[in-house]
């Protein structure tokens, strides 16, 4: 039955789908889609190179410490980093006493309970605590930021197309609306409270420029804190925050792939040996 009917019915079913598609082609609107300013003026991230790129890439601890300083003094005013704990900072070269001091001196305290009354309270952070965020909850965060929500930064470097280079480009990318754009798209405007930034998908971002001038932070190691330097350092730190096991992963990878290459060569030799003299 199936053997006889299948070759007859199949072309009919096929023709049905093909006709439906042809009809869809006929019916599709021929007017070209509206041109958007965000297609024309959006910029790809700048070419910024990091020490952790490539199969042998490693984090640069001095850069991560500088980046942490930028996060602490600039970003953390609005952005939380709830998945990173103070103790994790030992991995990027801070000593135990330094970590303890950083936790204790953090701008906001860790939520806790009053042990006597059970009422909500806060306390000084310990190395085992995660970074306390700047706002107690989302409503507070939105209320403080013109109804925009500053995203948590723990995974930001992995959660954006373009990664750390995108973040560094974005925070240094604020500009005036180009004259060309105004000419081509007279309707384009930057709504009040937003800022023009060609690296942002729709060109208008709620975040005010975070790095306004060179020397905004004073690096302890004497590195000149240009805006691009601060942006590069903090984006490297964000990559570490998002992928703390990167060095471990790449180191393990070299060993595993090396081992597998040797094992595969042996397997190939065994295969040729067994098939020796037998045509196939």
């Amino acid at each position: 039955m199936l053997r006889f009917f299948a070759p007859l019915i199949a072309p009919l079913v096929g023709a049905l789908f093909v006709c439906s598609l042809l009809w869809a082609i006929v019916m599709s609107p021929h007017a070209p889609a509206a041109h958007l300013a965000s297609e024309e003026f959006h910029l790809a991230p700048k070419a910024i190179h990091y020490s952790f790129e490539g199969p042998l890439g490693r984090y640069d601890n001095e850069q991560l410490q500088r980046g942490f300083q930028v996060y602490k003094e600039v970003c953390s005013a609005c952005h939380s980093m709830r998945l990173v704990a103070f103790r994790d900072l030992e991995e990027i070269g801070f000593t135990k006493p330094e970590v303890k001091a950083l936790a204790k001196g953090w701008a906001t305290e860790t939520p806790s309970l009053n042990p006597d009354t059970g009422e909500a309270a806060t306390r000084k952070s310990l190395p085992s605590d995660f970074f306390p965020g700047p706002y107690p909850n989302e409503i507070a965060a939105r209320a403080g930021n013109n109804n925009a929500l500053p995203p948590d930064m723990s995974l930001l470097a992995k959660a954006r197309e373009g990664g750390p280079a995108y973040i560094a480009s974005l925070v240094t990318g604020y500009a005036d609306v180009p004259a060309d754009l105004k000419k081509q798209f007279p309707d384009f405007n930057v709504p009040p409270g937003l800022h023009y930034n060609p690296y942002f998908a729709n060109l208008n971002i709620a975040m005010p420029p975070p790095l306004v001038s060179d020397g905004q932070v004073t690096y302890a190691d004497g590195t000149k804190a240009t805006r691009l330097q601060m942006a590069t350092d903090v984006s490297a730190f964000l990559m570490w925050a998002a992928e703390p096991k990167l060095e471990n992963r790449k180191r393990t990878g070299i060993a595993v792939v090396g081992y597998l290459i040797i094992a595969t060569l042996l397997a190939f030799a065994a295969y040729r040996n067994i098939w020796h003299g037998r045509k196939h």
């Binding site: 199949a10 599709s28 723990s154 067994i274």
Partner: protein, 430 residues
């Protein structure tokens, strides 16, 4: 099981004799993947992918069982429990990246396996049942992979679940109630997450069981081969072990090298950045795309943009997407050409490569931003996909003149070298 000249299992010591009497498991293994299974001697590297798919399933089950020890299937904590695995569990990053990329590699080797079957006519008689069970495995894999992608409860997890369960709402009248029944609510939430986790843990073992049937059904007629010509005598075959165990060992090594390169050096290359943002029902991502291995079918879904014959466009799209896979069930009967191997089918061979390019193009179009050009190209490619299987194959099966087939596998391999043609075991000593 397959050929009369298959070597017979003979237990070598008293313990194995005792075992053979009480529970003949060693005999089963010997006959299935040991010296007792004669295999055509001319298999090329494309025949490695069946074993590799089995290995990929093994990797998924082992890494998956370990992940489940640390993962929590609850909407409030699922995302953080995955980050806990990445940051705090010993080598948790390795287990998770291996599992996430393992899914991609499972699909890569299965797609190679399927296209090998299409080119060499492995779906044709007497192996129809092998093919049917294979399509069942493919469907189970797609369901498992989809539910697995929901578990990290990131933005793409949530919105992917929203879109894919939304397919069911295209069914007239009962669609919406079915969708709500599947999800356990109006939108994906904790109930959906819980049942997806339960099924995601169950289905791989169902897949393993269907694989057993797949291999069982294969061993009755024996493996196909690049000539498509049936095995005629002992000179056409070699025992699976050691010949193909050795070749598969090498293939497995190459597979693991490619897999490791992804896991250790580009673990997020095949994922989507949005899935590192926790699920948020109030914020829709700009572009919702499924995992890469669903993209050709996603492109087919999106290419039906007009109502036709009173059927809404969305329903056409959903029918076409499922139809694109379900038509594979009928392929053994749609293609009536008696010639199996594409090597001897000049027209089919060319159209096979057109199909490969067509599917790759559909994959590209599935993730591309929707522009009029992209839509038109997907419509043409989707049209070719259906025309290829349902119209072109039945027609060329009737009108194509095949090239002359070799008389036997050994003839095609040996070109008349008589000593080589001796049955296995005699030539090696001669």
């Amino acid at each position: 099981m397959s050929f009369p000249w298959a070597a017979h299992y003979a237990p070598k010591n008293p313990f194995m004799r005792w075992m053979d009497e009480k529970l003949p498991l060693p005999r089963l293994v010997y006959n299935a993947v040991g010296a007792g299974y004669p295999v055509p001697r001319n298999l090329n590297y494309f025949w490695n992918f069946g074993v590799l798919a089995g290995a990929a399933l093994g990797i998924q089950i082992i890494t998956g069982v370990i992940l489940a020890m640390h993962y929590a299937a609850n909407g409030l904590v699922a995302f953080d429990s995955v980050e806990h695995i990445m940051r705090d569990v010993n080598s948790g990053w390795l287990i998770r990246y291996a599992h996430a990329n393992g899914a991609s590699f499972f699909f890569i080797v299965v797609y190679m396996h399927i296209f090998r079957g299409l080119y060499y006519g492995s779906y044709k008689a007497p192996r129809e049942m092998v093919w049917l069970l294979g399509v069942v495995i493919f469907l189970l894999m797609m369901a498992t992979a989809f539910m697995g992608y929901v578990l990290p409860w990131g933005q793409m997890s949530f919105w992917g679940a929203q879109v894919i369960t939304g397919f069911f709402s295209a069914i007239p009248v009962v669609g919406e109630p079915i969708r709500m029944w599947l999800l356990g609510g109006f939108a994906p939430d904790n109930d959906a997450l819980n049942r997806f986790f339960s099924l995601h843990y169950l289905l791989p073992f169902v897949i393993a069981a269907v694989i057993v049937l797949h291999i069982w059904a294969l061993h009755l007629p024996g493996s196909n081969n690049p000539t498509g010509v049936a095995v005629q005598g002992p000179e056409d075959t070699v025992p699976f072990h050691p010949y193909y165990t050795a070749k598969d060992g090498f293939g497995l090594g190459v597979f693991l090298i490619c897999f490791s390169l992804m896991v250790f050096f580009a673990p997020n290359a095949l994922g989507h950045p949005d899935n590192y943002i926790p699920a948020n029902p109030l914020s829709t991502p700009a572009h919702i795309v499924p995992e890469w291995y669903f993209l050709p079918f996603y492109a087919i879904l999106k290419s039906f943009t007009a109502n036709f014959l009173g059927v809404p466009a969305k329903l056409w799209g959903v029918m076409a997407m499922f139809g694109a896979i379900l038509l594979l069930f009928f392929l053994p009967w749609i293609d009536r050409s008696p010639i199996r191997s594409g090597n001897y089918r000049p027209i089919y061979k060319k159209l096979f490569w057109v199909l490969v390019v067509d599917v790759l193009l559909l994959g590209y179009l599935g993730q591309a931003e929707v522009t009029p050009t992209v839509v038109l190209l997907s419509q043409l490619c989707a049209g070719y996909y259906f025309a290829h299987f349902l119209i072109v194959i039945p027609i060329i099966a009737k009108f194509e003149t095949p090239l002359p087939l070799p008389n036997s596998i050994s003839e095609s391999v040996l070109h008349g070298e008589a000593a080589e043609a001796a049955p296995y075991g005699t030539a090696a000593t001669a």
